[in-house]
């Protein structure tokens, strides 16, 4: 019988009060791994109540003690590193190296939270007025909610949860119902940490659970990562209910390759950018802007490199690209490829009919490359979230910058060049939250804020880095006179 997942509320594993379950499917094999409950608003209410109750004492727990719990947690994550990585492969379809990379980055976010004691110190000015001292004290806020996406089931919750609780808040995490197993496993590790009950809570589910979290008066803020369409709805709904919100949305990332670029190093990096995680990440490259006379040689090298990529099941060490997370996503990507053809782009490399030996039922699409794409095509405008590269030939740097800045998104953009002048202008003028210079995956590391512009981000304070401490705390100003 398939395992039905349970929620962790107030330190107890409890069944959700629902009859509705979503099968959790291994995208490489179609094996049903578990069933994820569609938790109800009542389940959410119980979790938030537990988190609210726990907050009172957790806030009083010294910050150094709070971070020590995280150190124990980090050690457990190291110990269970391979198991977590393999779970990520099984439910999300990525390769084992990609999964290890994800888990490593998640652990780095836990390590970043160790610095919370020095990042939430507040500040003070004596004699701001005669005999009056003024202090800004950094205080936690209460219960936070984290709504996670399917593509990084370990990393994304780790961007938020460690800092939130290190700052003295409590949290309810709702993983994606497509990939809930990793967090389920991680919350079993939280049990071993022996945090006070209710500090961290896990509620599985979909829209109903998310809505209940956004509407609950005790939830002070919501962190979300996912598509821009859903993100915008969550932003509007959460702000309407008085929450602070950070929404990291979708992307359409452009990589400009200048004619002076070193292709020997650029091409493998571009491969990693477009086809890493089978293109299912908000920092994946989507459009190559071949600038000037590099167009023909670049196209040739990209094709050669993409043809060599070995697509396969993620637990096979030799696989360089894994599966698409769901059948529905696969159909959507195939639809985008068809649309590209219909709109007149030239499909140079067609990954649609790829079959992986031994995994014939898996959701695989091979690397695909479109040439002769123009900025007005759907391929150049909409997020594909799959292993599809579009090449646009632009005459010069100016056109490259204009093309990038015309996008509705602004998550990341990269330039490949050996000239500092181009790099400087690119950093300065391109309207994207994360800029890569000779780096195709401009993924901010744990101590830096994960940027985003336009429809790629809604809110004020970004995830990760010092921004995250500010998001999970508030200043209280104290003005004192004792003389």
């Amino acid at each position: 019988m398939t395992t039905q997942l349970r929620n962790l509320i107030n330190g107890e594993w409890v069944e959700a009060t629902t009859e509705k379950f979503t099968p959790v499917i291994n995208p490489g094999t179609q094996e049903v791994l578990a069933e994820c409950p569609d938790s109800t608003p009542d389940d959410v209410k119980r979790a938030v109540n537990a988190a609210s109750t726990a907050y009172v004492e957790w806030r009083q727990t010294p910050v150094l003690s709070r971070t020590r719990y995280l150190m124990t947690f980090k050690n457990l994550l190291e110990e269970h590193f391979e198991k977590i990585s393999k779970l990520v492969v099984k439910e999300a379809g990525k390769t084992i190296d990609e999964a290890r990379g994800e888990v490593r980055r998640g652990i780095e976010s836990v390590e970043f939270a160790f610095s919370v004691p020095s990042l939430m110190t507040g500040f003070k000015v004596e004699d701001i007025s005669s005999g009056i001292d003024e202090t800004a004290e950094c205080q936690p806020l209460g219960v936070f909610a984290m709504l996670a996406p399917f593509n990084f089931p370990f990393l994304v919750p780790m961007w938020f949860l460690p800092v939130a609780i290190a700052c003295g808040n409590t949290m309810v995490v709702k993983p994606s119902p497509t990939t809930p197993l990793t967090m389920d496993y991680v919350f079993k590790l939280w049990e071993e940490v022996e945090l006070p009950e209710g500090v961290v809570n896990l509620v599985h589910g979909g829209v109903d659970a998310a809505n209940a979290l956004m509407e609950h008066p005790d939830v002070k803020g919501v962190s979300f990562v996912g598509s821009s369409t859903v993100g915008k709805i969550i932003y509007e709904k959460s702000t309407k209910h008085g929450k602070r919100v950070q929404i990291q949305g979708g992307a359409k990332n452009y990589l400009a390759v200048m004619s002076d670029a070193n292709l020997a190093t650029a091409v493998p990096n571009i491969m990693g950018s477009f086809y890493g995680c089978a293109g299912q990440r908000c920092l994946a490259g989507s459009v190559v802007l071949a600038v000037g006379d590099i167009y023909e040689s670049l196209k040739k090298e990209l094709l050669t490199a993409a043809r060599k990529l070995k697509v396969g099941y993620g637990l096979d060490d030799a696989s360089q690209m894994g599966a698409i997370a769901t059948q529905k996503s696969k159909e959507r990507i195939l639809g985008m490829i068809k649309k590209g053809i219909d709109e007149g782009a030239e499909l140079l490399l067609d990954g649609r009919n790829l079959v992986v030996d031994g995994y014939e039922t898996g959701n695989f699409i091979g690397p695909s490359i479109f040439d002769k794409v123009t900025p007005d095509m759907t391929l150049a405008q909409e997020e594909i979230f799959g292993p599809v590269m579009s090449i646009i030939h632009v005459p010069d740097f100016e056109t490259a910058v204009t093309t990038i800045n015309a996008s509705n998104y602004g998550n990341a953009a990269s330039i490949f060049t050996q000239k500092g002048g181009y790099a400087r202008e690119f950093k300065y003028r391109v309207n994207a939250g994360n800029i890569g210079v000779n780096v195709g995956v401009a993924a901010a590391t744990a101590s830096f804020p994960f940027g985003g512009k336009n429809d790629s981000f809604f809110g004020d304070l970004h995830g990760q880095g010092p921004d995250s401490v500010r998001f999970y705390t508030d200043y209280k100003v104290v003005i004192e006179r004792w003389v």
Binding site: T95, D97, R100, G101, R104, G272, D317, A318, A443
Partner: protein, 133 residues
């Protein structure tokens, strides 16, 4: 297993060390005196290297620069463990040294390159058994 990724190269190195560890353990139990001690020492060193490699695979993987790797043929590094004469063991060690020598420059993470170089150095520093006898 193809040597086309950061993790697959490290996993292959771990496997090599595991195979050598088993071999040296077996030889240590068969031999006596100084030679037995030498094989025991070698087996222990394999375990240490294996742990070092596992740690690097876990800690040094860098998502931002996870790029396909080309130009390594694993067939070249398959160990033939059927022979256990001093000459054959020296040949095995030379093959392992070649493996580390070839893969190190293919890895784009400094810390891991350092680990691989150290492994190569340790294998290179082993006594030549055929010359000893």
């Amino acid at each position: 297993m193809s040597l086309t990724q950061f993790g697959s190269i490290l996993s292959f190195a771990i496997l090599l060390e595991e195979k050598l560890e088993e071999l040296y353990k077996e030889l240590a139990s068969k031999e006596n005196g100084a030679l037995s001690e030498e094989f025991s020492k070698r087996a222990k060193a394999c375990v240490k290297r294996k742990q070092r490699l596992e740690r690097s695979r876990r800690e040094n993987i860098t998502e931002i620069t996870l790029e396909p790797i080309e130009g390594l043929d694993e067939k070249k590094y398959q160990l033939n463990l059927s022979g256990t004469s001093p000459q054959e063991i020296d040949t095995l060690e030379k093959q392992v040294i070649t493996f580390y020598f070839d893969v190190t420059p293919k890895i784009n993470v400094l810390e891991t390159r350092r680990v691989l170089k150290r492994c190569q150095k340790e294998h290179s520093n082993l006594k030549n058994l055929s010359e000893e006898k």
